[in-house]
């Protein structure tokens, strides 16, 4: 199915086109990016419908580096489809929020934005470990450029930290990947980078444990989980709004995706053995992220720490190996993708108007910007986990499922929900209520359209969570089948 590879080439070509168009006529880059991303979204949906109807995932495999039996292999199954659609939708949001925000080198900005979309889509599509690693690394480059060139005051520091953390940790994953391929060679006589083939290997427990750790560190940095999280607050805060949207909305999710796609199926026994550690890390992230979020005075930094807290739920749920918990994790991935991206775009709009992200400079903005306040309230409520909004289902299911396996830790994790109410309301109260000390312009038509769409999505998926859960059902069932074999 050659069409699958278009999902990777087309954003690259569109990026080049947007750069070229922007140089010809200022402002046209926005339209090129917007239209091409919209086209891609429809294209991805068409492919997705095809694959869902046929019941088998769409696949593509070309020989690429025969010396090591490496293939250019792509696969579109339910989980990949879900995350690709999320990626493209949030990329549209990223273009929309940076419509007027970027005043310098717009063409190159659009190129980087679409380049990172291509890399992220590649990560979700890759069905060969080598290829996966390639995309995993490549998506860093444009993201680092976005932070470095269009970021805020401390952008250089944030960009270097972001790059080195993710690169260095992924080297460990590379070692694990190579070691797996070599073990396959020892056992069958041929190297292989195909996850399905590698899944059949019967690894000795200690080997499995070490290899699993290599993958886990790379994914835990991306997720991020305490204590590997320190790059995140800097990167999120310093990135331009579009960068924050992509980072929080999708890039963090690649870590969770990696855990679901590789760590759990490849190393089931080691995962079970390691689960108490991972789950503890998840719970610590939940509580630590929430406490840190409360003590922030920077709007974006607060939301960044809240992301650490929310991603802790994903880690907790995934390592519980329970059907309900895994469903909860996937729901949280999508819901947090939407709600955190929405909050970051709000933060960006406020910064654009006030030239400050400090909560101390805000206050009483409800008076001058009621629409903005209302929508922010919806997003904050989603983050808190109010029933009826998408995040609630995800966190509830995560906790329900994990409770069956790790009752004590799950009870502690529940604290996270309480704490999220504390920092969420703190944020809203400091920024929008109280005496009016800052006056800002309210949302304009363009901003109103996309923020309302986000709010509608949060409410809609909050009421109809099964719409999200049905798509990656095949992946969940495979995981459960593997877990039965272990227990």
């Amino acid at each position: 199915m050659v069409a699958l590879s278009y999902l990777i080439w087309l954003p690259l070509i569109a990026g080049g086109l947007a750069w070229f168009a922007e140089n010809k006529k200022s402002g046209s880059g926005n339209w090129v990016s917007l239209i091409s991303l919209f086209g891609l979204l429809i294209f991805a949906l068409v492919l997705g419908v095809q694959s869902q109807q046929s019941g088998v995932p769409l696949q593509l495999s070309w020989s690429w580096f025969a010396r090591f039996n490496i293939h250019f292999a792509l696969m579109l199954d339910g989980l990949a489809l879900l995350l690709i659609v999320l990626t493209l939708a949030l990329a549209l949001l990223a273009v929309a929020v940076s419509w007027r925000e970027i005043n310098d080198k717009q063409g190159f900005f659009h190129f980087n934005l679409l380049f990172s979309v291509a890399g992220i889509v590649g990560v979700f599509l890759a069905a060969d470990m080598f290829l996966f690693f390639l995309f995993w690394e490549v998506m860093l480059l444009p993201m680092t450029a976005l932070i470095l060139i269009w970021g805020h005051e401390k952008r250089r520091y944030a960009a270097i930290k972001f790059f080195i953390f993710t690169q260095a940790s992924s080297l460990l994953m590379l070692i694990s990947i190579i070691a797996l391929a070599l073990i396959h060679q020892d056992m069958t006589g041929e190297m292989s980078f195909n996850p399905q083939a590698l899944q059949l290997l019967n690894l000795p427990p200690s080997t499995q444990y070490w290899l699993m750790l290599g993958f886990f560190v790379a994914f835990a940095v991306k997720l991020p989980s305490v204590p590997l999280h320190t790059w995140l607050p800097d990167a999120h805060t310093q990135a331009p709004t579009a960068g924050s949207v992509l980072l929080a909305g999708i890039l963090l999710k690649t870590g969770a995706y990696g855990l679901i796609r590789f760590v759990l199926p490849l190393f089931p026994a080691a995962t079970v053995e390691f689960a108490p550690v991972a789950v503890t890390m998840g719970v610590v992230s939940i509580v630590y992220g929430a406490v840190m979020a409360y003590s922030q005075t920077d709007f974006k930094r607060l939301v960044a720490y809240s992301s650490i807290s929310h991603m802790g739920f994903v880690l907790l749920a995934l390592f519980s190996w329970h059907e309900v918990a895994i469903q909860g994790a996937i729901l949280t991935i999508v819901a947090h993708g939407i709600s955190s991206a929405a909050l970051f775009s709000m933060g960006g709009m406020i910064q654009h108007r006030l030239h400050s992200r400090e909560l101390g400079d805000m206050g009483g903005m409800w008076k001058t910007a009621p629409k903005m306040a209302t929508l922010t309230l919806i997003f904050v409520m989603a983050g808190i986990g109010m029933p009826g909004l998408a995040n609630f289902n995800g966190e509830l299911l995560s906790l329900l499922g994990s409770y069956q396996v790790f009752p004590v830790l799950t009870i502690i994790a529940t604290l996270g929900i309480v704490l999220s109410a504390v920092y969420g309301l703190h944020l809203f109260q400091r920024a929008f209520q109280g005496p009016a000390s800052a006056s800002v312009a309210d949302l304009n038509g363009r901003e109103l359209v996309y923020t309302s769409l986000l709010a509608v999505a949060l409410i809609y998926f909050g009421l109809q969570p099964h719409l999200i859960l049905d798509i990656p059902n095949d992946v969940i069932q495979q995981l459960l089948a593997i877990s039965k074999g272990v227990q």
Binding site: S63, W64, F65, A66, R67, F68, I70, K105, F133, L134, E137, V138, L141, A145, L148, I149, R156, A159, I160, F163, I164, Q167, A168, L171, L172, L174, I175, I178, A179, A181, L182
Partner: protein, 485 residues
Amino acid sequence: MSFHELWLLLPVLIISLGIILLLLQAAWRRQPKLAQGICVVTLIAAAVALIWQFPVGVQSITLLFEYEPVGGFFSILLLFVSLSVALLQGVYMGSYSKMPSTEAAEEFYLLLLLSCLGGMLLTMASHVASLLLGLELMGLSMLAMLAYNRERRLALEGAIKYLLLSGAATSVLLLGLAFLYATSGSLVLSELMQMPNGGAMSLLAKSGFVLVIAGLAFKLSLVPLHFWTPDVYQGAPVNSTLFLTSLSKTAVFAILIKLILIIPQDFEADLIRMLTWMAIASMLLGNWLALQQQSIKRLMAYSAIAHMGYILVAGIIAIDIDHSLVLEGASYYLLAYLIASILIFAVLTLLSRFDDQHDLDELPQLQGLFWQHPWLATIMALAFLSLAGMPITVGFIGKFYLLTLAIKLSAWWLVTAMIVGSAVGLYYYLRVIFALFAPLENSTLSAPKALVTNIWITVVAASLLVLGLLPGLLGNELRAVLGVG
């Protein structure tokens, strides 16, 4: 010597012919452009001849030389490097501009061909005499190239340092070879380490081999014999630095791996231990010392130390197993290193002038290059990403080969050093790349228009991406090309 043997020497003969032509031309009429043309044509002709009659098996040419695939591949690399340097030199000396350099330009090409000849002989050497001949021919011509700009104090200082230390290293090498000759009684390389009645290596022979390794390690600037590298790199004219970092390292590595492959079994364990520590120290120290450098040339010097440490990993593993992957990995990594070095120095060369007291070298001078010369900055950024081992560049594939080798042998110390070294290395490579993309501040830099040179650089840059994106193109063929496995 039969006609067939002469025929096998064709590439070397072509270069010798070019040298004579250049000598005659310089005596007849001085004309830098013509000299450059002769040099480039000679190198291309030699490369064509080499590829056309690429060796399939091992054939000996008299007692002194042998014609074999690995040496052939390294010779192609040498010609590739020499060609790049030759093409850059014209622009560097302003031969095409209205104000060419007042320094004589023709002799540079002569020295370049001589040095390249020395390197090629070295890769073909099968006898102590030819080894020394090649090494010295290469080293002495290079020395003159390092001091080519006599107006620069730093260049002279660097060249004197290189002369003295390199001389000492060669004497150490000679002493080592003498020890080996004293015990084995043969000067043919393959018999150098065979003990008379098949006995174990004596202490004298062992220390002799260690001295030989030390002499070669000096040329490769491996820790602890690396001290000369930064000063010489920084002092020399930038194009000569490129030549030093690429040509001599390639040729010396070719002979090193040849020697390593023939050591007897009872000496393996000691040698592995020694080389492992050298490799680990080079990787860590080289990357560590590069961290705070402001000068790109110094940074590249320390980076060269680290990268030679990486390549040595392949050499160490070659001791342990005779596996085709070792030679493939070393060749691919070296190629990746050469491509990246050529591109980085090419950009510096294009922005520098030979007659100035200093080359453009300091990091702040490069600030914001991307907004002024997007192509040059993109090429430089790609080259640094390749050195850092980022996927989609050829450097990643090289690193992938070496990691695969090290993991296959469960050499976890080496793997750890490679990972730590790479992580540290990321920081200083990023510093340069970030400087390229920083906001533009200082005065404008001008890059000369030289069509052929620019086309060549673009081709090399394209190969960096093509070999990184389609590693199979070369990687699948390499085993057959090197005649292994």
